[in-house]
């Protein structure tokens, strides 16, 4: 089943319903389907077997996703925020391809051989061409729907392979067709080159929820857009939420039309989600955990879990605000030791997942086991009720004198200190221990000392978990989806 069928079904059932756009200017499912049909007819006439998209969100992106699927050509949205040299390198790696590029980004591109370039404005014009819209193209099979470069926080970017089957399985198991209210609208602020940017299109279309794109994130604009566009659903990364809450508090608004807010992509600090739950009592909060290689979400902490946790006096239940919830239907999840054997509840190990939405494959190599398990390289543990807690990347584990130390645990303790605004704990080379623990602190004030923080950690954990190297900075490096770039810190501080 191809992803293009999702739009086809929506256009068959609710042709006039609004698929995307603003309250004032919108595009219907039938309108989007016609554009995708024309785009597919044009792509089918192009020699290259792949499609590349370099550009901002807007109707051209979903149209190109569905057009590529219809034409049987995998699509690769590229990260336009990369420096020109890196962007051109990824484009060359994607050749041979037909590339649709925003008009004002074309000058940044040095077209590699076997890549033909079409400006976004020309692509949009041909999507409206009546003869292309009317032309039927022969059914062309291609298992692969999407080729995505992973963000590569731990090394060279890899190309994740996502098949139509993976993506449609994800949509079918998580979304009921056209179950959204006609007035529902999703505010999408994730970029097109992120898996969440693609899954937002697929689940938005299938659920019948209008998609509204926020071109660039600022907390003020976000809040204004939610109010103006009567947004009912939105997804944010943790770094966005606190800034949004500041604006909400400043303007004394409560965003009454907002029904649901999901978050993911990085660790949500406990004080931020607690503040959000108090500040927006009518909103259903969802914490979603997922990866590119798993077609997006694999586990969710749902609205009821959030409300139960915040109202509970039981520390065990309250702790769930730190969890990413339980696996979604149709997906198996286990915590495994280094040999892939399942571990008991409470034991720390690698998170492994299995299910039809799990691709677990790169162009470079397949990393799925013979029996279908995909090792995520994320570390974590399950509680007795099956709630999943994340604890960093397996690669981030600090090995000090043979002891495995998780940076997350130390970061959590440091973050509870009132003078600490943000923190990253990393392993640094050490002649005696192999690795030593380093802490990079973003302080709230200037008068915070290493000694105080060291005592703070030592009394709460133990001396072997107390950082031996301290550095104070104004900010930590994050990528635009809110992931801490530990590798970068490690490289900088290892010398």
């Amino acid at each position: 089943m191809k992803v293009s069928l999702l739009l086809e079904m929506a256009a068959t059932s609710a042709p006039e319903r609004v698929a995307l756009g603003s309250l004032k200017q919108s595009l219907s499912y039938a309108g989007l389907e016609m554009r995708a049909k024309a785009g597919a007819a044009w792509l089918a006439s192009q020699p290259a077997e792949k499609t590349v998209f370099i550009g901002l969100n807007g109707w051209a992106f979903p149209a190109l996703i569905f057009a590529s699927a219809r034409a049987g050509k995998p699509i690769t949205p590229l990260n336009y925020r990369l420096p020109d040299a890196d962007l051109n390198r990824l484009l060359a790696l994607s050749a041979p391809a037909t590339a649709v590029i925003d008009d004002d980004m074309i000058t940044r591109i040095t077209p590699p051989p076997n890549v033909s370039i079409l400006s976004r404005s020309k692509f949009e014009a041909l999507c409206l061409d009546a003869s292309l819209q009317a032309s039927e193209i022969p059914e062309r099979e291609n298992e692969i729907a999407l080729l995505l470069f992973t963000s590569g926080t731990t090394g060279e970017p890899k190309t994740a392979v996502l098949k139509h089957h993976n993506l449609t399985s994800y949509v079918l198991s998580t979304v009921e067709f056209m179950n959204a209210d006609e007035t529902d609208a999703s505010l999408v602020s994730v970029p097109p080159y992120h898996i969440a940017g693609v899954s937002a299109v697929l689940t938005g279309i299938y659920s019948g929820r209008r998609i509204f794109y926020l071109s660039a994130f600022s907390p003020e604009d976000w809040v204004e857009t939610v109010e103006r566009e009567k947004i009912s659903h939105a997804m944010v990364v943790p770094t966005m939420l606190n800034r949004i809450l500041d604006v909400i508090a400043e303007r004394k608004t409560s965003l009454p039309q907002l029904k649901a807010l999901s978050y993911g992509g990085g660790k949500m600090p406990l004080p931020v989600i607690e503040r959000a739950l108090k500040c927006l009592p009518h909103v259903a909060f969802v914490n979603a955990y997922g990866l590119t290689e798993t077609s997006s979400t694999v586990s969710v902490l749902g609205p009821d879990d959030h409300r139960l946790a915040i109202a509970s006096d039981d520390a065990r239940i309250r702790e769930r605000l730190n969890s990413v919830g339980r696996p979604i239907p149709g997906l198996e999840l286990k915590i495994a030791d280094e040999n892939g054997n399942p571990l008991m509840a409470g034991k720390w190990g690698e998170i492994c997942v299995r299910g039809e939405q799990v691709a677990g494959e790169y162009l470079q190599k397949k990393v799925i086991s013979a029996d279908g398990w995909f090792p995520t390289n994320d570390a974590g543990w399950l509680d007795d009720d099956g709630y999943l807690y994340l604890d960093g990347r397996l690669d981030d584990v600090i090995v000090r004198g043979g002891e495995n130390i998780s940076p997350g645990e130390i970061e959590d303790v440091l973050r509870q200190h009132t003078l600490v605004k943000d923190v990253a704990v990393i392993g640094l080379p050490d002649a005696q221990w192999g690795e030593k623990i380093g802490a990079v602190i973003v302080p709230n004030t200037a008068n915070v000392s290493e000694e105080d923080l060291a005592v703070w950690v030592k009394t709460r954990l133990r001396s072997t978990k107390t950082p031996e190297f301290w550095e104070f900075r104004d900010e930590l490096p994050y990528n635009e989806t809110g992931k801490l770039l530990r590798r970068l810190l490690k490289e900088e501080l290892s010398n």
């Binding site: 059932s13 089957h165 259903a284 609205p303």
Partner: protein
């Protein structure tokens, strides 16, 4: 026949079309309105008055999933139609929707 996941089938008696979501391990006959479903490019056979359209009460709705518990065959409605689905003459059951909060 053994159905390929992702394969598309149309009804011979109405406008319904379905996609196979989960396949059955054995040979089965998938029917709509009592008549064997056909490939999208196959010509629709003439339906004579003598053909009984069985179970015309359920029909096929777009986006609904239908399952045959005995073999595990599961299909998704891609186009609506009046005919009801059956596997080896057993009526297929509507698969209950589960509520999952939006996460994207």
């Amino acid at each position: 026949m053994i159905f390929k996941p992702g394969s598309r089938w149309k009804s011979a008696v109405c406008s319904a079309e379905v996609i196979v979501v989960r396949t059955a391990p054995q040979d089965v006959t998938l029917a709509c309105g009592g008549l064997k479903m056909i490939a999208p490019d196959e010509p629709t056979p003439e339906v004579t008055a003598s053909v009984t359209i069985t179970g015309n009460d359920v029909g096929v709705s777009v986006g609904k999933r239908y399952i045959d518990a005995e073999t595990g065959l599961e299909v998704l409605g891609a186009k609506p139609g009046k005919g009801s689905l059956s596997v080896d003459a057993r009526p297929m059951q509507l698969k209950e929707a589960k509520a999952l909060p939006a996460s994207d």
